[in-house]
């Protein structure tokens, strides 16, 4: 069968596509394969499907699209691959070629192409939605509520934190200087990401406060937008992805470092150059932009080089047992494994217990958890069991996406464990 389809993005990763020897090392590690135990779930199967798409005219069917989407891009396969096959990139590229050919389905097209890029409007829609959260749906626990009317189109009854009454961008100035008498060591831009901006603004304030007290001038450019991960990595919409990338690059032109509190945002933005650069100028801009990005724990430990004594436990967590969930994007994508653990080790007033397989995917993976909610919850159930086994009072992580997934899953399993960002532990 001949085909007229174009596979521009996949072709970029042709070497990876060819590298797979079908040995099956990816099998025991893949969180999706672990639940489904069918070949189309696992990296090897997806590679073979993409090869069939290119070589034998398999066709960009809805089923193939579903198989491409049925992956958390957790990167465990790549980490375990003796041939070094970058499977997640091949899959992301295949998603992009699919979108270039077939477009993004409703309602995602509306959200990705129209709503997400309009930052203020997006905020207003969320605010509007948050009123309905309170009116129509019962409170589940503290500030955690059922997903509201608008987002329930995407979210299938998930317990998510309430949309904040006041967004971070409305609460802090664009320039935040260290207090009088503290020398300015660095000037950084703070990429807040959608979740910290709209849902966890207190986390953002805490980070700004901690950094400024430690001699860092923090800029929060109003022109920044979404990192684009759900759009270009999740949905394969590279055209819209480029709009986000360009806006963010422009917003952070004048800083030494760009700090993030979300491993997914950091990793996605570092990947602009890999996926979205379609000309030399963009390649250069994206590369320079990417090189400036530091995850908050990486910045504190490797750049600021704070001594252990600089980390003190906030009053509400003193005496608690704490465990750490390592986001896929932090450990496997950015290679940041030691830094958050160093911070946890420095905190004298907590008992830090490492959970089993702390680096195993929680199953969130953005749009994956919307497309495949049940599957996402099965993957999360293993995480819940590992958290519960540590008997921790608090599980901390470094990705608000993981936080939402773990909050939802712990509630569903009736486990009263708090879920926080690692920076929230600090005084």
């Amino acid at each position: 069968m001949s085909t007229n389809l174009s596979f521009k993005q996949i072709e970029k990763f042709k070497a990876d596509l060819d590298r797979c020897t079908k040995c099956g090392f990816c099998m025991s590690a893949c969180p999706v394969y672990r639940e489904e135990r069918v070949e189309s779930s696992v990296a090897r199967g997806k590679i073979m499907l993409i090869r069939a798409l290119l070589d034998s005219g398999l066709g960009l069917t809805d089923e193939l699209a579903e198989q491409l989407n049925r992956c958390t891009l957790c990167r465990t396969c790549a980490e375990n691959c003796p041939a070094g096959t970058d499977v997640p990139s091949v899959i992301a590229a295949a998603r992009a070629d699919k979108v270039a050919e077939k477009g993004v389905p409703f309602p995602y097209n509306l959200v990705f192409r129209w709503l997400l890029p309009r930052r203020r409007l997006f905020g207003r829609v969320l605010r509007f939605a948050s009123w309905f959260q309170g009116i129509f749906l019962p409170k589940t626990e503290g500030t955690i509520r059922h997903l509201s009317f608008f987002l329930s189109a995407l979210g299938k009854g998930r317990h998510i934190p309430q949309i904040a009454p006041k967004f971070l961008r409305e609460s802090v100035p664009e320039i935040n200087r260290p207090p009088a008498g503290v020398e300015v060591k660095y000037t950084v831009g703070y990429f807040t990401g959608c979740m910290t901006d709209f849902v966890f603004p207190e986390l953002g304030k805490k980070i700004i406060d901690f950094l400024t007290r430690n001699g860092v001038e923090v800029r929060v450019p109003k022109a920044q937008g979404c990192c684009g991960a759900p759009v270009f990595l999740g949905a394969g919409d590279f055209t819209t992805g480029r709009r986000f990338a360009d806006a963010n690059v422009k917003a952070f032109k004048d800083v030494e470092y760009i700090i993030t509190d979300c491993a997914t945002c950091a990793s996605a933005m570092k990947d602009y150059a890999k996926f979205l650069a379609d000309n030399e100028a963009r390649r250069k801009d994206y590369k320079e932009f990417g090189d400036k990005i530091k995850d908050i724990t990486e910045f504190l430990v490797d750049v600021l080089k704070l001594p252990p004594s600089a980390y003190r436990t906030a009053a509400e967590f003193r005496g608690k047992t704490v465990t750490w969930h390592e986001p896929c994007h932090l450990g496997r994508y950015l290679g940041i494994k030691e830094q958050p653990r160093k911070i946890l080790d420095s905190l004298k007033d907590i008992k830090y217990v490492e959970m089993r397989d702390a680096d195993r995917c929680c199953g969130m993976a953005g749009t994956f958890s919307i497309y495949f909610y049940e599957l996402s919850k099965k993957i999360a159930a293993r995480k819940v069991a590992d958290i519960a086994a540590t008997k921790a009072d608090v599980v901390v992580t470094d990705c608000p996406g993981c936080q939402i997934q773990i909050i939802d899953s712990l509630i569903q399993h009736g486990k009263p464990v708090q879920v926080r960002h690692i920076m929230e532990l600090l005084e």
Partner: protein, 459 residues
């Protein structure tokens, strides 16, 4: 194409979600880990228990539909490829570890359990199951038994067949039979269970497995030695074993894979060497210390460099480098032909020399790795099956390699099995009367030849 009525019946037996028929799913079940064999099945069924397997096989027998049993499909023989189409019966959803007994030193599992998961479950109890094929992170226990898997640890501990105590098997006509038991000794009638161990899915579908397991060794040590040439390495192994040390593993890689050892071993030593031996001794800490000392002394007399791993992390790096041989070689050629012969230990050097001479004659690249301790080798010929002339030369070289192994008293396959990949050599490698008896046994157990047809012998 399968009759829609048959698909409907399969759905009724196994549940709708456990019967796959789409083109995409068929593509995903059309291959194994070889790069030469593939064929689309017509349907894939993922049963949940022996009763369902039985119903599926009854149906297939009645309709004469080929059934290819399959686990993870990590085999390297073409054995799990549905070469005649029909049904792929995939056992990956039968994945319970039923029992692990420290007292009885045995464990009972369903066929879909991944070997690595089994090993982890045993490790929690201080136990271990020695066979460690390279596919351990994906392969299933059903496949381990049906292929009679080996691996590096088999030097000291033997292959899968030494550990099978009991099996539950579903025959082609749907009868569920229990063979063997749970005790290490069992002299009741013929060893029928052994027929299914290594049967490559041609005689029945294994639905439950009881295995003998061992207490995990208390300590282990890895020694790495780098040699000028393979003959010296081979003599070293012979001397180690002659000195009454039986290492748990003795592995060998040639300089094609040296890049993976750069940074781990000194460059100047690697630059003037051809072969690396990886040796592991295990047992009680005092035994390990004494045996390490002895191995070290023997290696030092002949090797260009010897290194005893300082800790587990360092040892793990060497073993990972060894494991990467296959993928490393695969990445350097479009097509690789990976052989699996086994020769007597004292013929290792002869075998390698003959194989290298053949590769030179046919002007094809060849690389060697393998379980040198037990004489089981993986000579890999690098070629490109799109280049007909090169591929033909490569296959001639492979023929000669196999001839060489057989002429030295070796066997065609040490651990991969015959499947499709080695069929054309079977007549040379096995007594023709024995092949005839195999066919008769097949006729008794699977008279309609529905189970994995087209495998092992040429038809």
């Amino acid at each position: 194409m399968l009759d829609p009525g048959i698909i409907e019946k399969l759905r009724r037996i196994a549940g709708k979600e456990n019967v796959l028929t789409s083109k995409e799913e068929m593509v995903a079940y059309s291959y194994d880990a070889t790069n030469t064999w593939s064929h689309l099945p017509d349907a894939v069924v993922l049963p949940s228990d022996a009763a369902q397997v039985s119903e599926i096989l009854k149906l297939a027998s009645e309709k004469g539909v080929p059934v290819t049993p399959r686990g993870s499909g990590t085999n390297v023989s073409g054995g799990s490829v549905a070469i005649r189409g029909g049904i792929v019966l995939c056992t990956t959803r039968m994945d319970r570890i039923i029992e692990v007994s420290r007292t009885n030193l045995n464990a009972t599992v369903e066929p879909g359990v991944i070997l690595l998961d089994f090993q982890e479950a045993l490790a929690k109890e201080g136990l271990f199951f020695p066979p460690d094929p390279q596919s351990f992170a994906g392969c299933t226990m059903g496949g381990v038994v049906a292929e009679n898997s080996g691996g590096p640890s088999c030097l000291k501990y033997g292959v899968t067949k030494q550990y099978v105590l009991g099996l539950e098997v579903v025959l082609a006509d749907g009868r569920i039979i229990k063979l063997g038991g749970v005790t290490p000794k069992n002299r009741t009638g013929y060893e029928l269970m052994m027929l299914f161990t290594g049967s490559e899915g041609t005689l029945g579908v294994i639905t439950k497995i009881t295995l003998r397991v061992l207490p995990a060794p208390k300590a282990e040590q890895t020694i790495v030695a780098v040699f000028n040439d393979v003959a010296v390495a081979g003599e070293t192994v012979t001397e180690i074993i002659a000195g009454s040390v039986l290492p748990s593993k003795v592995e060998f890689v040639d300089n094609w894979t040296f890049a993976k050892f750069r940074g781990l071993l000194p460059d100047d030593v690697l630059d003037r060497s051809q072969v690396i031996l990886l040796i592991q001794v295990d047992g009680l800490p005092e035994t390990v210390a004494a045996e390490t000392e002895q191995v070290l002394r023997i290696c030092q007399a002949r090797a260009n460099g010897v290194r005893v791993a300082e800790d587990k992390v360092e040892a793990e790096r060497y073993w990972q480098a060894r494991q990467s041989h296959f993928s490393d070689i695969s990445s350097r050629a479009h097509t690789i032909v990976n052989e699996d012969v086994s020769v007597p230990r004292d013929k290792i050097a002869d075998f390698i020399r003959l194989s290298q001479a053949s590769a030179r004659r046919h002007d094809v690249p060849i690389s060697f790795a393998g379980h040198v301790g037990d004489g089981n080798f993986h000579p890999v010929v690098l070629t490109d099956n799109r280049d007909k002339e090169h591929y033909a030369r490569a296959l001639k070289c492979v023929d000669e390699i196999i001839e060489a192994a057989l002429s030295l008293g070796g066997v065609l396959s040490g651990e991969h099995g015959i499947g499709l990949e080695k069929q054309r050599f079977l007549k040379k490698a096995m007594d023709p009367q024995a092949i005839e008896i195999m066919k008769q046994i097949k006729g008794v157990l699977d008279p309609r030849h529905i189970l994995n047809p087209g495998k092992i012998w040429e038809e």
